[in-house]
Subunit: 233 residues, 4 copies
């Protein structure tokens, strides 16, 4: 009975302890996974990392089986959001005969979201959902306008720059890369207009565009702040 | 009667279906148009794209004629916002004898805005209009200040950098390009100050400028969020 | 009496007309001034630009004298904000014997602010003043924190990068340039960390810094939006 | 009795004067410290800077001793926030036998925060604390989501770009640098995707990411503005 509670009831003392251990293990396994991508690793290190991976998968598999056994609705757990993620976190290890499925392990990061349960951020998530829901039409509207703007920007700069820089602005699709990196103000500097017309076009697109691209984040922030305020009133 | 309703009444079942088909066709024709700009297309592909364009224009022409026939005020439709766009979407095809009018086809993207009708975003658009209207004086005020700031920044950097980089900061107009890419924080890296004076000037312009350039978007976002809040209260 | 009203009363019909003409002349004289900075101008163009400058200064001088004559408190006008700017707009022309005072003409741009009078943006400016005033303590607080942050960022990156890039991060002052271009997210790409330590430092500075540097603009925008809302309630 | 008041009571006339002098000295000592980092300093300048440092440390030491003597709870002062900083500001000078502890002097900048006391920004700091506290769950939630997003972005770009740019995207850790400089929109231009897949991935990460990374600052700004509004209502 105690084990069942440890696994399923995050509110209990042992349940919290268990979850903290699992969370730490998830973060460590992601770290190990990232270290594996480093070039020039010694065979020794690779071996250690493999042992650690086996250890993690063992724990995660036991956890998965226990959650399955203790679940009231077994199929409900298997097909729940966390049920699928828990499975994806261990499956690649068992299936990796020949083909390289290691990348699927990245889904383990989604398990990190469980930390929010642990930290009791349910009310904050609820407020965020409500804020996003109440402003959903505005967000979709601005997403559509942003999409149209990006396409128009890409098309316009293609007209102006294609002749001068046929490599970098080879097509509307190539120009979309410029549109994205400009309107998000990242500006890597790998593509930029060189013609007078292209620069003037960029000027207007930026002046108009910034007032559009940054609005959705502003709406979310403002709506969230309102719901925080309502709470504290 | 059924055909008339399909064309003119977007609220009816058939009207919605018809509009969805047209919207998909618009997006596909824009995609085809973008593919045409790709370099090194085979003759085969070009032919297919041409056939698809003929198909699209045929459908759009039939749609235009039907909208014209079924419109209560025929001239009212022809000179309405969507009436002009609908015509611009097909006209270039018929007029392209000799001169290259293909670029005009880009106006088709404006037809995408019809999708907002379909998705019943009227209330969101109304709220946006109200928010923009109630803050119009602030937006215009900041637009003027931004304009003045850009000019002052361009002039200032010209004074500082013209001697050190006579190519890149050849005149106030050339310096405007720097002012735009800096104050919008894009920062491509094609032009930047190298003198001590220019760097200190950039420092102050950025500290002051960011607090001005980003304000209009913030006002719109905040005003929108207020109108969303009012709705949900 | 009519001339007096034209000059001093912007609310009258003739006063508005007069102000629009002066505004257009200011913008044209700034444009001429910018064209003068273009390299490789023909002697012909230079001559035309000089004639236009003489014309502008003549008009501005007459305007200044009339404003002085019609002013109720003559000294009050001379030492008022616009009085000083009006003088700075013409003085360089008369004083330019030998020394090059052309740059002082840039102050003419401040005359552009008069356009706000014309467009009756007084209430918007008032709301802006109130918003800025009510949030002045927050703005100063964040300005001080931003200053401290910039200095700490410059110092930190100097410690990490000085050895690896002794040219670009030669001193704390050189590093300040990096701090400004990074924390404002301009990121020209002329200076960036290359060491592991410098990159990790940049990571933390950016995560913390963005949440500080962008706050003042957000406060102004939000305060403005609140005052707009109060108006419309 | 007067000396005690000067040191401990910032509200008194002499207390304010004393604090202003100390503040100026702190800023000057930081400036001197920054000048020391300049390359190619003459021996003469180095000597002057050393003398000034001795002078500053003498004053700061006397100040520290006086604060200690006049403190009601002596240990309370020594282990208070400002007590530790005051000590760190002078200690490196006395300990620098052999090992180079000069860098520790940077902590002196934290003494600059005392300026806020002087300028009576207590209410603004209080409002900021309240705003940050009331929105603390949202800020932590978005900090966690930002962390997860950065990791996912780094991992994704590693998958796409590792083969094409094995140097720049050598591992997930190397890719994190790209993720940070992209999602904060700094975009130095030292690393950027070159493959089609990497660019499309960047597109989606940026569209989603900007709406997340910029939200915390927006929440703080909006919450602050609300508390400013409440004050003025």
């Amino acid at each position: 009975m105690s084990l069942r509670e440890t696994i399923t009831n995050i509110e209990s003392k042992n349940g919290r302890r268990f979850d903290i251990v699992i969370q730490i293990l998830i973060v460590l396994s992601l770290l190990a996974f990232s270290i594996e991508t480093l070039p020039n690793l010694s065979e020794q290190t690779k071996e250690y990392l493999y042992y650690f991976e086996v250890f993690c998968v063992t724990i995660f598999t036991i956890e998965y089986l226990l959650r399955f056994i203790f679940a009231k609705k077994k199929l409900g757990y298997v097909f729940s959001f966390y049920g699928i993620i828990d499975l994806l976190a261990i499956l690649p290890f068992y299936l990796s005969f020949g083909i390289d499925l290691r990348s699927v392990r990245i889904f383990r990061i989604l398990r990190v979201f469980r930390i929010l349960k642990l930290a009791r951020y349910n009310s904050a998530i609820d407020r965020f959902k409500k804020a996003a829901f109440s402003a959903r039409e505005e967000i979709v509207l601005f997403a559509i306008i942003t999409g149209i703007l990006l396409y128009l920007a890409a098309f316009g700069i293609y007209i102006f720059e294609n002749e001068a820089q046929p490599e970098k602005f080879a097509s509307v699709f190539h120009s979309l890369w410029w549109a994205v990196s400009t309107l998000t103000t990242v500006g890597y500097g790998d593509v930029y207009p060189v013609t007078m017309g292209g620069k003037i076009f960029t000027f207007f697109i930026l002046i108009i565009g910034l007032g559009i691209v940054t609005v959705p984040a502003g709406i979310v922030a403002s709506a969230l702040s309102n719901s925080v305020k309502k709470k504290s009133d």
